[in-house]
Amino acid sequence: MSIEAINEQLLRAIGVGVALFDMETLEARFRNDTFIEWFGPADRAGGLLDLFPGLDVDALRDVLAVGGRHTAETSFKMRRRTMTVAMEFNRAGGEGERIAVLVCQNITRIKELESMIDSYSVMVERNTREIKREKEQVEKLLLDMMPRGAYEEYKSSGIVAPRLFEPVSVLALDFVGFDALLAAHDPGVVVSELNDIYGAFDRIGEQFGCERTRTHGDSYVAVSGVPDPSAEHAVAVANAAVRYLRYLRQRNQSHPIQWNARVGLATGAVVGSVVGVQRYIYDVFGPAVTEALALRGGAEPMSILTEATLAELLDESFDAVSAGDGDAVVLTERLAAAPGARNFGL
């Protein structure tokens, strides 16, 4: 067998489609087996435009005339599989001949893999978005349950170590006759109103630097100076307390259910920690909390009871009158508001 014959046999058998086209007539001069398998039997019309109607023949001729190469892609179905073939045209032949060599590489698998990666990327991106959204929801929930500082500690170490905060001030509030309210009205209505009131307290507290730490039924406890120390902790709880009562007085004028609160304020030390292994909650407890709860118990309806040590930390916006019972003083807001006092629209 001659070298030429061996070459031709090889050319016919390789997995790359090869064809030669006469650039004058655009007819095929040669097609190997792979090319025929992909683009039709040998007796089929072999014109370049018959095979590839979308091919830009003028551009091809121009490129080949200056010795360049022209590339294109074509897709077709073969046994229900979408085949994609990359085509490359090069010029061959001597001066007198204008022959184009077309080499076709099967890039079907590459296209399939590209599709798969696209599909997978979309899946992963969607999952990532969902995970991010869930993470944000969890974060929001945890931030509702504990201060940001405690949350950051919890996130990095999985625990929140108990910390002593001193000095801080604690505000404890409850409602006189709450059980009677529940008995006399639809519980759904009572709880809904309580929600509104606590929501208002939270907003007022936030404006003055107080943070609610817990509610238990009609018991509402807020603290100032936890976890970030504040020199104005006593002023913060006193300001919040008088606004809470002002808010309730205004609210009671236009609502059938009368909410009468009593408030205890105390200053001192508290411990802040996440309590519980499951259903955990960030809480503060300690002498200042105990004292505030005790003072609250002694307060008259719609009044604020505190201790002399806290009253001494306040400015002239407040009046403190001895409750005639040991150290306790009744705190009220001075009616001629101090210059610069803020109006919170209550």
């Binding site: 046994r79 229900r80 599989r81 979408t82 698998r109 296209k111 399939e112 893999l113 599709s115 798969m116 696209d118 599909s119 997978y120 899946m123 992963v124 999952n127």
Partner: protein, 123 residues
């Protein structure tokens, strides 16, 4: 846990080979292949990728409603379903997935038979 199958066999880099192998088998099969005659390539690959990922507990999941809608235009018989199942089995065996894991995957597949078989209609 189903989730571990996806991780156990090397995540996407391994699963992608299974997807391509199953894709080849499905297209070459004269029983179930015709279902894919008129489906364009990106859509078919997308379906296969999600299908295998979901069966192996990867980052895809199909609701029953989604599966039903996707096959609503096809008339799938029990024989087709069995054939598909055996192609999945052969593919997983080729990749040396452990027998009990293959059974777990096929079990997931089997519980969805009612979503495909006998529910289709001709448009």
């Amino acid at each position: 846990m189903k989730n571990s199958l996806y991780d156990k066999y090397g995540g996407f880099s391994s699963i992608s080979r299974i997807v391509m192998a199953l894709y080849d088998r499905l297209l070459d099969d004269d029983d179930v292949g015709p279902f894919f005659d008129d489906v364009d390539l990106p859509k078919l690959i997308d379906h296969q990728t999600k299908f295998i990922s979901a069966l192996m507990g990867g980052p895809a999941s199909f609701s029953d409603g989604h599966i039903q809608r996707a096959h609503a235009h096809m008339i799938v018989s029990d024989a087709h379903f069995d054939q598909l199942k055996s192609l999945v089995r052969e593919t997983l065996e080729e990749f040396e997935i452990e027998p009990e894991d293959i059974e777990a995957v096929l079990g997931e597949f089997e519980v969805r038979r009612h979503l495909l078989v006998g529910t289709g209609h001709v448009d």
